[in-house]
């Protein structure tokens, strides 16, 4: 893809050195392309993005793509061995524990550098949850090309981009309440012909 692949570790270190207090996490990508992504924290995301754009080493001046991802609540059941008092003696007993990881929405940005001819760097911004807290800072002030794509992610996933100059629906109509690309979206009950309709009555 790129003339020069960017070392994600180095970018992470550079961001952390330049932006005070910024927490950057690397999400490894196991595929052959190895495009690991950087998860930025929402408070410092704009600052970090400005650094990525303006740093003379990186010069990531082109945001090619903004995507939305919906991660549902995850329920994990695991069997754990615990020492417990059974009949007066301590024994190792197996227990099943259930833990629920709350779901969240994610905005993914793909960055390239026209000047340095390298890329991509993949940024991810995560919302707190899938409801009221579905907010991330907008990177449109940093990369103008993100404007319409952030609107699309808002339209289809319901991610609210704070600081976006014109956050309206872009594909669906304004009156719609749903966000149809979310995984728990159910299409309105439709007066379909029942499955396996075999014969026609009357006709038109």
């Amino acid at each position: 893809m790129s003339a020069e692949t960017i070392n994600t570790e180095k970018v992470k270190a550079a961001i952390e050195a330049a932006v005070r207090g910024c927490r950057v996490e690397i999400l490894p990508n196991g595929s052959p392309s190895g495009q690991h992504s950087l998860i930025l924290d929402n408070e410092h995301a704009v600052e970090a993005a400005l650094f990525l754009r303006d740093n003379p080493e990186l010069r990531l001046d082109y945001c090619s793509d903004v995507a939305g991802v919906d991660w549902l609540d995850k329920e994990v059941t695991e069997k754990v061995k615990v020492w417990k008092l059974v009949d007066g003696a301590e024994k190792e007993v197996e227990e099943t524990r259930k833990s629920v990881t709350p779901g969240y929405l994610e905005a993914v940005y793909h960055l390239f550098s026209m000047e340095k001819k390298h890329g991509p760097v993949v940024l991810r911004l995560r919302t707190q949850d899938r409801g009221e807290g579905a907010r991330v800072p907008s990177l449109t002030p940093v990369w103008r090309s993100a404007e319409f794509q952030e609107r699309e992610a808002f339209d289809l996933y319901g991610i609210v981009f704070e600081g976006h100059p014109d956050l309206r629906r872009i594909l669906m109509w304004d009156e719609l309440k749903d966000h149809p690309m979310r995984k728990d979206y159910v299409a309105p009950p439709d007066e379909d012909e029942p499955a396996g309709a075999v014969a026609q009555e009357g006709g038109r």
Binding site: L171, P180, E191, D192, E193
Partner: protein, 208 residues
């Protein structure tokens, strides 16, 4: 009645053998109509490209008197719904159909226009334009070839030539009490309102 109809046909055939051609009012009227069906310049998706190809020299829709694609629905007799009708576009299609003068016909071209096609389970595509307007001819195909559109067109011509001027079997546009415009769906909070026009929509039913 049937007997007299038959003898009239026989008489006409006999006369035409002797070089005398006869016709009825209805026949000549329908003959004129079917050979000057003017479609509306209206394309929605990839099927529109096939529709354009149909009008060009290789397939030549002009042979059927239908080469004049009108830029205004006021002058058009036929709307070829060629392509995917998204839910956002559906009100416009219905409004255009409403604005056409009677008699007006609809050809629903391609898998998307007749049923939603490959996008049927999507959130944004109407599952067939026949939910809102009465369709005369459906063409399956993705997209249908120009020959298929020509076939649909000839089917429509046949349909027009069989329409009666008087009597109970006369078509919708000649009946006083039947509507000429149809409900334009509105953008609702979860989909189009209403999802179908009950007056028009006539789906398959399970009989067993």
């Amino acid at each position: 009645m049937e007997q007299s109809e038959k003898s009239v046909q026989e008489l006409k055939a006999e006369l035409s053998k002797h070089g005398v051609f006869t016709t009825t009012f209805e026949e000549i009227y329908n003959w004129g109509r079917k050979n000057s069906v003017w479609p509306l310049t209206f394309g929605l998706a990839c099927c529109a490209i096939e529709m354009i190809a149909t009008t060009m020299a290789r397939y030549d829709l002009a042979r059927f008197g239908a080469e004049v694609f009108r830029a205004s629905p006021r002058q058009a007799d036929l709307i070829i719904v060629s392509g995917t009708v998204t839910k956002k576009m559906a009100p416009m299609v219905v409004r255009l159909y409403n604005q056409m003068p009677e008699p007006k016909y609809v050809i629903s071209m391609g898998a998307c226009a007749i049923s939603g096609g490959p996008f049927r389970d999507g959130y944004n595509v109407l599952k067939g334009i026949d939910r809102y307007i009465p369709v005369d001819v459906h063409i399956p195909g993705c997209p249908p070839r120009p020959e298929a559109l020509l076939d649909a067109f000839m089917t429509l011509q046949k349909k027009i030539s069989e329409q009666q001027l008087t009597g109970e079997a006369r078509p919708r546009h000649l009946k006083e009490d039947l509507p000429s415009e149809f409900t334009v769906p509105k953008y609702g909070e979860h989909g189009l309102e209403p999802p179908v026009n009950e007056e028009v929509w006539n789906p398959l039913k399970v009989l067993q």
